[in-house]
Amino acid sequence: MNDVFILGIESSCDETSVSIVKNGEEEIATVVLSQMDTHASYGGVVPEIASRMHVENITMVIEECLTKASMTMEDITAIAVTYGPGLIGSLLVGVTAASTLAYIYQKPLVPVHHIAGHIYANNLERKMEFPLIALVVSGGHTDLIYMKENYSFEKIGGTLDDAVGEAYDKVARVASIPYPGGPLVDKLSQQGKDTYKLPTPLDDDSYNFSFSGLKSAVINLVHNEEQRGNEVSKEDLACSFQTRVVDILSKKTMRAIDQYQVHNLIVAGGVAANSGIRSKLKELCDQSGVNLTVPSLKYCTDNATMIAAAGYFAYTMGRRAGYDLKAKATDPLH
């Protein structure tokens, strides 16, 4: 079979990214233009500013990626694009550019779900083996997914309220830890001890998660200590919070592995960069002989490499979109 080169486009939030991936596993070139510095001065992503920056940069990022790969559009087999979920104004730029390219160059257009992208980031590390359990942890998602084979996604559990990344950001805010909060909480956690009494989130028989109670407990703890005039140790608070989060995530993940009798676990999403989650799952997987794959740090945050990787499998399975592809702010993984 001929090699398949997928050009991926990702613009669902605040990164404009284009990548070329060969056969769903080999990164040829990637360009990621992050707007993080701009949004940092507003304390979070401002959707209208994000959309404006995507339009300004989209063609330059496409050109730079092709230049980096020493390829032209003629060498590309198909164009994959994140159609959702994400910020609608941001998604529209990537989807519109992708449809335009597909039309001009008469290339197949392949729609990719953002979370499928995060999952397939793992295929860039090593070939994914099935069946597997995927733990998807990000600012918008906390899901446990059973994959019997390529591109088959069975959600077995998810968050009932806040996504894990969201909980990190809110805890960071209340503890006056600057944006972006999640990575800094993780860093502080490594310098602290689990000294604060915080509740264990939703420790039941389901595969669902709930972080709002834990989040509220952190907020109350900080306010109470402030009223008493006590200083809160950011390091210890971060460590106590992270320990509860990591414990429940890994407990339910390992139970899913056991119940579904799989030997492969992958972790996906921005929070897959979290050192606590990575080390705890590694320890547990080593003990029970489970193959664990986590993406390199550069593939944890939003990028088009993962979209092109997922796009390869969507393409080989015959998934296509017309030029009327719609961006969707929300859409279940399928």
Partner: protein
């Protein structure tokens, strides 16, 4: 000269293919939803009935604002991606100037687009299309001094409005010799900062 004209700045979408100033094929209809997913199929359809393809276009004219932020982005994204791919240049056009090509019988023509909370994007032109008041984001009331001798041309500003009948041939004729812009440099002209930026500017 073959050209493609794109205007998605208001809900009245206009996509036209021209040979010099003659419109060969055109889509101009109200599109209130999903302009982004409709635009490429519309362009594809227009070329189906023409003796040449999108690759034979010499120049792309795009209305880059002011108007609906999302709408403007759709047109600009298509235009710059297409121009980059086809190695063509882009001529940006003003949505207000395009509205001002509507025939009126007053001294001035006042194109306006509702920008909410009493504000409009507007400009004032005389009948030879000379700019009397440059395009800007302004309180509607500030246009009053032109109203006696002018006609407000707008789809959405209610007071004393005339429904626009913009003329693609005329706007292309006016700008046929404009220098094209490199597609990377072609961006929307919103005429207004985002609310977040306005708030920040005020605080500073």
């Amino acid at each position: 000269m073959k050209s493609l004209f794109i205007d998605t700045s208001t809900f009245f979408m206009n996509i036209s293919v021209l040979e010099d100033k003659e419109v060969l094929a055109s889509f101009h209809e109200e599109v209130h939803m999903d302009m982004a997913s409709k635009i490429i199929p519309i362009i594809e359809e227009l070329f189906l009935n023409l003796p040449f393809t999108i690759h034979d276009i010499d120049k792309i004219f795009v209305v880059n604002g002011p108007g609906s932020f999302t709408g403007v982005r759709v047109g600009v994204t298509v235009a710059k991606t297409m121009a980059w791919a086809l190695k063509k240049t882009i001529v940006p056009l003003s949505s207000l100037e395009f509205l001002a090509t509507t025939p009126v019988d007053t001294k001035y023509v006042i194109p306006a687009i509702d920008a909410r909370r009493g504000y409009v994007y507007a400009g004032v032109y005389d009948r030879s299309m000379t700019v009397i008041l440059k395009n800007q984001y302004m309180p509607y009331d500030e246009l009053k001094s032109y109203l006696a001798e002018g006609t407000v041309v707008s789809y959405d500003v209610l007071e004393g409005k005339t429904t626009p009948h913009p003329d693609v041939s005329k706007i292309i004729e006016l700008h046929k010799d404009d220098n094209g812009v490199n597609p990377h440099q072609l961006n929307p002209n919103y005429l207004k900062l985002t609310e977040a930026e306005e708030k920040k500017t005020k605080e500073e």
